[in-house]
Symmetry: C2
Subunit: 221 residues, 2 copies
């Protein structure tokens, strides 16, 4: 409910009528962010969806944020914004591609949305390549201590490329996709992730169980 | 889990392992968006927080999105992005102020986030002036039929200005705040809102009860 330029000086986060403790008590659930990072094809979305299913079957609310629902919505590219009625200038300004700057903004927005979910007692499961360490660390810094879990989905490049579920590695090798992570753009692995999933040696179901075990061990569940 | 330019052609929204029906059954709750719109000082956030409290006390998850948590997070302005480490160009590009273009993008992003909450069985309660009809209609169009409730918080300008909870009207009259809705920028009231709250003649608690009654009548609760 704001209305003027530079009004952020007047903003303070709402305490709300409802305390965080009361929310947690009534909903029977803490919020958290589980941040899956890894190469394209490593299995991030697949594992995130498995974890979602386990949690929801257990009556907990969990929400997957991934390229498929975010790049088509909140983080549309310029072409999709144009199709939604934006003029050329606004579409170019706000639309997100895959340059380093655009990826940083992509991850920043996802981090802020994941935080909103976690603040509202939902377990956010994010599945983005998120290749840059600094971007992931910014998201970690947004979150309260103990509510951010970085999970490295660590299949080797050769395995991911052999899987190539969307044919993107093939296109990247042919030079048809610019700045593709692992081929023409770096992937910076986490230095101290809360969990490493060897998705070349364990099934998505096994990986998901390990994530749930982590959340139990850390008191989220 | 995407990796190349214009990759949206390869994207399809994930069906997921978990069906929407199963999610709803296990969580015992439908998602929806309740979109509060009205002048600064009309009481949007206050009513939204009252509704949140009523719903959470009833064991339903509801999440308030408002200027206070969104303008300080997802929709930071250029100054806040700079403070977060963005370079000048990126901060200027992605930071949101209060021009018409920026407001449209503000509302678009909020709409997409509200949709993500609703898709995940949370009742999103958004409290933004959202002065432009076209912007609100774009959000409505994102949502499945029957899951979007536009609520006009319709206190007259004179009442809002007399309340002036943040001193912004005073600043706007003094010319210290540009493009302030109701003073130097238009407010376009909804033509067919699902509900009108006369927040000059009813208490926030009464307004909140009317919103809950609407959600019951429409089968959300």
């Amino acid at each position: 409910m704001t209305g003027g330029a530079r009004v952020h000086k007047n903003l303070t986060p709402h305490a709300g009528r409802l305390s965080a403790d009361r929310r947690r008590e009534k909903l029977g659930q803490r919020g958290a962010v589980v941040w899956f990072t890894g190469l394209s094809g490593s299995g991030k979305s697949t594992v995130a969806r498995e974890v979602e299913a386990l949690l929801v079957e257990d009556g907990r609310n969990a929400a997957v944020l991934d390229g498929d629902n975010v790049r088509l919505g909140l983080n549309k590219d310029a072409a999709l914004l144009s199709a939604a009625g934006y003029g050329e200038a606004a579409a170019g300004r706000f639309g997100l591609g895959f340059s380093a700057e655009d990826r940083t903004e992509n991850i920043r927005r996802v981090g802020e949305v994941a935080k909103l979910f976690a603040d509202n007692n939902v377990i956010a499961l994010t599945a983005f390549i998120s290749p840059f360490r600094a971007d992931r660390d910014l998201v970690r810094a947004l979150m309260p201590k103990g509510a951010f879990f970085e999970v490295h989905v660590a299949a080797p490049l050769a395995v991911c490329e052999a899987r190539d579920p969307k044919g993107l590695y093939k296109k990247a090798r042919a030079g048809a996709v610019g700045e593709f992570t692992g081929i023409a753009s770096p992937y910076e692995p986490p230095r101290a992730p809360e969990l490493v999933l060897h998705s070349d040696r364990e099934t998505p179901a096994e990986s998901a169980q390990r994530v749930v075990a982590l959340l139990k061990r850390k008191g989220v569940l």
